[in-house]
Every structure is written in C-alpha cells, then in structure tokens.
C-alpha cells in the first residue's frame, strides 16, 4: 500500500473542510465551521493498478488571527491550494501560501482549486487575476464543494501526478 500526504491550503472560509468532506464521502454542510489546527482524513484510491492511501491534511485557514504552521507541511507529497472564487482576496492569500510551500517543499505537485463555482453571479476572479499561476505546472480547476462538481476529478488528477515518477 502506498501512502501519500496531501495538504489543503488556503484562506479561511474558502471551503477546504467541505472539499475534504466530499473527498471522503462525508455529507456536505453549508454551515461555515472554522477548523482549529488540522483535521486528518484518509482516502483510499486504486489508480494505475496500485492501491493508494491519501492522508488529507485539512489545515486551518490562514488570516490575521491564525497562521499556517510551516512544520505541518513537512512530508507532503502534494497540496491543493483552495480559493473562494467569490472573494478576490483569497487568491492573494493562496499565492502567498503557494510561494511558502514551494520554498519549503520544492516544486512538488499542486492544484489550484477555485471553489464555490456554484456562486457564479458573485464570482470575483478573472482569467487575468490567475496570471501569477500560469506556467507553474499546477492545473486550475473550478470546483464546487456544494454540488460536487470537479471535486473528485481534481483529487484523482493530483493523485495520478503523485504516482508519476
């Protein structure tokens, strides 16, 4: 059995815990409940003929009150950067976290998830806003933890890259 650690990083209230719930088939709750410290879930996958267990580290959101502990990133094989598409400021925060993670872990696989895609009328992020992430090797995926759109696909895609030498 292969085991890999994946961190979910992002500002507060972007939907990291809701995405993690979707990954492990827990029911979606629309109520925002802030994460304290870290929550660890396990997801078993069978990919490319191999059994894989993903340890999903759902980290507390970063803001002026709480900072992501750099030591928590240790041992990560990849990470999911989560942004709330209806709050432009969460993209800036994601960029900072991305730079910190790359500085600490090197160029490991990651994906940028633009979450809350179901709230299209409140969308605040344009294609131009995403230019800092262009050409960095991480796909940009619009997800909705509420409807489940592209959630599993995003995780499977990252898991595939973790298994690719």
């Amino acid at each position: 059995m292969i085991q890999r650690k994946i961190c979910l990083l992002g500002s507060f209230a972007v939907g990291k815990t809701s995405l993690a719930a979707r990954f492990v088939d827990r029911p979606f709750s629309g109520r925002y409940l802030t994460t304290i410290g870290v929550r660890i879930d396990r997801k078993r996958l069978h990919l490319a003929g191999q059994d894989l267990t993903l340890l999903l580290w759902d980290m507390a959101g970063e803001d002026r009150f709480q900072r992501v502990e750099a030591s928590y990133l240790r041992g990560s094989a990849g990470y999911l950067l989560v942004v709330d598409g209806t709050r432009r400021s969460t993209l800036d925060q994601a960029l900072l976290l991305h730079e910190r993670a790359q500085g600490l872990l090197g160029p490991i696989p990651y994906s940028l998830l633009l979450n809350k895609a179901d709230l299209a009328k409140d969308w605040e992020i344009s294609d131009a806003d995403l230019s800092p992430f262009e050409g960095q090797g991480g796909p940009i995926v619009r997800t909705s933890a509420k409807t489940g759109d592209h959630v599993d696909e995003a995780l499977h895609e990252l898991a595939h890259r973790l298994l690719t030498p």
Partner: protein, 396 residues
C-alpha cells in the same frame, strides 16, 4: 500488525538510547483513574515504537486507524499521522530526560461513526521513561473555535459591508456625474440671456444665475474629486504628476470671479501682496483644482463675513513656499471643531447647508501636491486659513 506505510517523510528515528529500565507497574486504582480521565498513555520503546501502558480509553476504539487490539509496540505515526510533525520536538525532551512536559497543538481525527475527536498530545520524561499522553481536548477545541469563528464571521461581515459601500459609492458617483450633464446647457442659456438683458435688473438676475451655476459645477467637481481620491484605479491622477501653475494669476482670477457675490452681500474683498513678490508665482498645482481650492476658501469666508466687513487675500513668498492667507472678520472657528475641520462630511453647527467636502477637498488636493492647509486663527479673532504650495518651474 501491518508493516508501516510511508508518507513523503519517514517518521523521526533518533539514535537508539541505552535500554531504559522496565516500566514500573501501573496499579489497578491508578489505571482506573487514568481510564476515567480518557487519557491514552504510551511509552516509547528503545526502537522508537510505542506501547500502550494503561487500559486504553474508550475513544481509541472509535478511531478508524485502530482496527485491532494493540498489545504490541507500534509505530505511532501510523496511528496518529499528525504526530509526525511534532515528534522531533518530543524526542528532544525525552533525550534530555528532564524538563517540563510539552504539548502539541490540537488536531482532529474522524471516527468510524462519523464524528470528530479533538486530540492533544503531551510528551513527558518520567522515571527514565519516555511517556506520551494523548487526551481528548474537546473543551479547548470548542473554546478556541467559538472565539475564532466569531472573529472570522465578523471579518466576513466586514468584507461584505465594504463591498456594499463600494457599490453604493459607484451608484452615487454615477448620479452626481449625470447631474452635472444639464448644467453646461443651463450655463449656455444664461450666457445668451446675459447678452440679451434689457436692463440692469435682468443683468443682475442672470449674473446671479451664472454665479450659482458655477458654484454648483465646482461643488460637483469637488465631490467627484473626493471620490477619485479614494479610487486606486489607474484613472485617478498619480501623486507623482507635478503640474505647475501661476498662483498669482489664479488668485486674481478667482477674486475677480467672486467680486460680484461680495458686492451683493455688502462685503469687501481685497488682495494684498508681500513686498518683492515676483510674477509669475509658479507653484506645484493643477490649474482647475487650484482654482477650486481658492473658490472654496473664499466662499467660506464670504459665508461668515458680516455685512460691511472685509475679506483679505494675502499672497506671500516664503522661500521654498508660496502662501495664500484668507482672513475674514466673522465669528472664527470654534476650538472644538478644529481637530475635525479638514475631515470629510464635517457639517452642521457652524457649517450648515454644505456638503462637508470643501475643506476636505482642499486638504487632500494640496497634500497631493506636497502642500498643506491650516486654520491659523480661532473663535473671536475671525477666520484665517493659510495654504502653502511648493514653488515650481513652469510646466513645459
């Protein structure tokens, strides 16, 4: 026991210390107390694995990572992956063999029944044993979550409120902009009427209409400029732009433009220049905004000037600065108003019927050019406002 799977980094494996003495037995009463406290007590073996010492608390069996009874030492990070990031710190304490216990941060593990367990670990060197205690920390978790939740919900409310205000400001901006549209037409008609005036009374009324239309136009521009001062968009004028304009000519133009209004009120308007003042008086300023700054100051003076009093505009060369002082013989400015005098929306009391943006506009405009404004006389001595502008070369 299944063999240890791997994460990206292997669990910390410090050099094996000399074999510690066997653990002292846990008597049945102590075991019962510990079980009641719901604390999992583990001892680190010399090989880096951990064994459970006392009867395991009930919560342990609910964890998805504990499928079987653990009667043999096991790698702790297999069961509690979170500890991988904290164990190096604990290992240091155990190696030293003394010192106060250290605690991990809180973390959350899901259970088989779909609920969450909030846990905290403590490392403790005791009687030459390396002990690890893991306990439920629900109360601490709830307390922290309540505080942080409230703070973040307030922050989200604040963000939403700012967005609403921004949307309303844009709407207001559009309304004011549209209000300015018909004004040019009104002014044009009044100018035609001025040329066709049949007598002095007609001329007086038309001139009054033109004066008021001009005031309204300046007021609208002031409001739009105040909006622009909050607007970080590229359309807003850059503070780096350093236009220049002749201050003396500008003062003369404004004084002439307002002379009819002073005459109508029965007040006198005079201009004084310090000895040796050279024309032109180039300053860092943009012509139309500088004109509006001066109009604001003189219209304020006119509003408070008593009948038959004099408003004096004094121009002075102060080395690197050019100064304009506007003095009236009115009631002056009350000391309690002074600290807020140049803030926006300061109205009411002694400043009735105004937008509350005039002096604010003067301040932000002058500061943008590196100048400043001050009220240099207070209640009982009349109003006196002084503006200072940096001297400049003519704009090419």
């Amino acid at each position: 026991m299944a063999s240890s799977p791997t994460t990206g980094a292997a669990p910390a494996s410090p050099p094996s210390p000399p074999s510690p003495p066997p653990p002292p037995p846990v008597d049945s009463l102590a075991a019962a107390v510990l079980a009641a406290q719901q604390v999992l007590i583990l001892r680190r073996t010399q090989f880096g694995s951990f064994e459970i010492l006392a009867p395991a608390p009930a919560w342990l069996a609910r964890l998805a990572t504990f499928p079987t009874a653990l009667d043999k030492p096991f790698p702790i990070t297999d069961r509690f992956p979170f500890l991988e990031v904290w164990l190096p710190e604990a290992e240091e304490l155990w190696r030293s063999g003394t010192g106060a216990p250290i605690h991990s941060s809180l973390w959350t593990e899901p259970t088989r029944d779909g609920t969450d367990l909030h846990l905290e670990a403590t490392a403790l060197p005791l009687q030459q044993q390396s002990l690890l205690l893991i306990r439920r920390a629900d109360a601490e978790h709830t307390a922290r979550q309540q505080v942080l939740q409230l703070a973040r919900e307030r922050m989200l409310d604040h963000e939403r409120l700012l967005e609403e205000i921004s949307a309303k400001e844009i709407l207001l901006h559009c309304i004011i902009h549209d209000l300015a549209g018909p004004l040019a037409g009104i002014q044009g008609c009044l100018e035609i009427l001025a040329n066709r005036a049949r007598d002095a009374e007609d001329t007086e009324f038309v001139q009054l209409g033109l004066l008021q239309a001009g005031r309204q136009q300046r007021l609208i521009r002031t409001i739009l400029d105040v909006f622009a001062s909050h607007d970080p968009s590229p359309q807003a004028p850059s503070p780096q732009v350093q236009p220049s304009h002749d201050l003396i000519t500008c003062v003369d133009d404004v004084v002439e433009g307002l002379r009819p209004a002073f005459l109508a009120k029965g007040a006198r308007l005079q201009t004084l220049r310090s000895e040796g003042l050279q024309r032109p008086g180039w300053v860092v300023a943009e012509a139309s905004r500088l004109e509006r700054v001066l109009y604001n100051l003189l219209e304020n003076a006119l509003r408070f000037a008593p009948v038959a009093s004099t408003v004096t505009v004094h121009l002075h060369d102060d080395g690197q600065w050019m100064e304009v002082t506007v003095t009236d013989e009115g009631p002056g400015v009350a000391p309690e108003v002074l600290p807020q005098l140049f803030q926006q929306f300061i109205t009411g009391g002694r400043w009735p019927g105004k937008s509350g943006l005039g002096l604010f506009f003067c301040r932000i405009t002058l500061e943008r050019w590196g100048g400043n404004i001050a009220c240099v006389a207070t209640e009982g001595t009349g109003g006196r406002f002084r503006i200072r502008l940096r001297k400049a070369s003519p704009t090419p």
